[in-house]
């Protein structure tokens, strides 16, 4: 859980087809995606592939739903994971907003022994951060504190999301 979360656009991966955002949670030194890359540096080829795929989506295809593993959160909250095959090692959680915006959360090593992410504490935590974030973004959108840009490629408004229930 978090008390405050900031949405930050990643310019290198954002292009005419869509924008990639990540999150900076509370007092963390780095964004969730930076931590994901840093903590999984041993899976270099998978990280390279993930960055290449995200850039291709931002610049050429958009964040089409078939590039993701859908329904990883609560119904309708858009929480998903970048597609990972059975033999891959990493799982990266995201929130999709149509094919034009994606928010990258955290993720990590996906042990072969587990059948569901709930069995892994780190993956479970990263997944629930995005579930909560999605809920708060929806509330802020209803309150017109955050909205999509006219071309649908960006978030506008107050991109700092506070968790009013945090204790």
């Amino acid at each position: 859980m978090f008390s405050e979360c900031q949405l930050i656009k990643i310019p290198q991966l954002s292009g005419p087809k869509g924008s990639v955002y990540t999150i900076l949670v509370d007092k963390e030194e780095a964004t969730a995606f930076a931590n994901f890359v840093k903590n999984n540096a041993s899976f270099k080829s998978e990280i390279t592939d993930i960055v290449g795929r995200l850039k291709t989506m931002g610049f050429k295809t958009g964040f089409r739903e078939f590039f993701f593993k859908l329904y990883e959160g609560n119904p309708g909250d858009g929480v998903c994971a970048l597609y990972d095959s059975e033999d891959s090692n990493l799982r990266l959680y995201c929130i999709r907003y149509g094919s034009q915006i994606v928010i990258l959360g955290g993720g990590g090593y996906k042990p072969k022994s587990i059948r569901a992410f709930q069995e892994d504490e780190n993956l479970k935590e990263q997944n629930f951060i995005l579930r909560n974030l999605s809920k708060f973004i929806t509330e802020k959108m209803k309150d017109k504190e955050i909205w999509f840009s006219e071309d649908g490629l960006d978030f506008e408004g107050d991109l700092t999301i506070e968790n009013i229930n945090y204790e």
């Binding site: 900076l24 890359v37 295809t61």
Partner: protein, 143 residues
């Protein structure tokens, strides 16, 4: 909130710089193939099961893998998919061809056009003598 993290995505530049252009093209092509398949399926109103059935295959997960943009297709598979979906993965892309025509710039003679003097100009410039010609005596030209 650490503001420096907002703009510090140098690590992404590092990853992209380390990646060869061929490696990037491979990733792009896998995703573009997936997108092409999905679009063709949509235009036929097909879901994954329809494509599986058309290909006479059994494992639905292979279609999901193909559409994920991570699959390295063999040429044979692309031919088979293209055949059932009515698309061609190997045709050359349509490219825009620009053909330039250069015409000599002609002096605009339409303003104050005098057909008789224009004819005289042409005849003089080509040293044509039509003094006995019927056409030269045409009343229209003498008007």
């Amino acid at each position: 909130m650490n503001k420096s993290a907002q703009e510090n995505f140098d690590f992404i530049d590092d990853i992209l710089e380390e990646m060869s252009s061929v490696e990037m093209k491979k990733i792009e092509q896998r995703m573009l193939n997936a997108e092409k398949i999905r679009k063709a399926m949509d235009s036929k109103g097909w879901n994954n099961s329809n494509l599986l059935e058309a290909l006479n295959m059994k494992s639905l997960s292979i279609i999901t893998k193909w559409l994920s943009g991570t699959h390295n297709f063999t040429q044979d598979t692309l031919v088979e998919i293209g055949d059932v979906l009515g698309i061609n993965f190997f045709e050359a892309k349509e490219s825009k061809v620009t053909i330039e025509f250069n015409f000599p710039i002609m002096e605009n003679k339409t303003s104050g056009f005098d057909p008789f003097s224009s004819l005289a100009y042409i005849l003089n410039s080509h040293e044509i003598n039509l003094s006995s010609s019927i056409s030269y005596n045409c009343p229209e030209y003498q008007a």
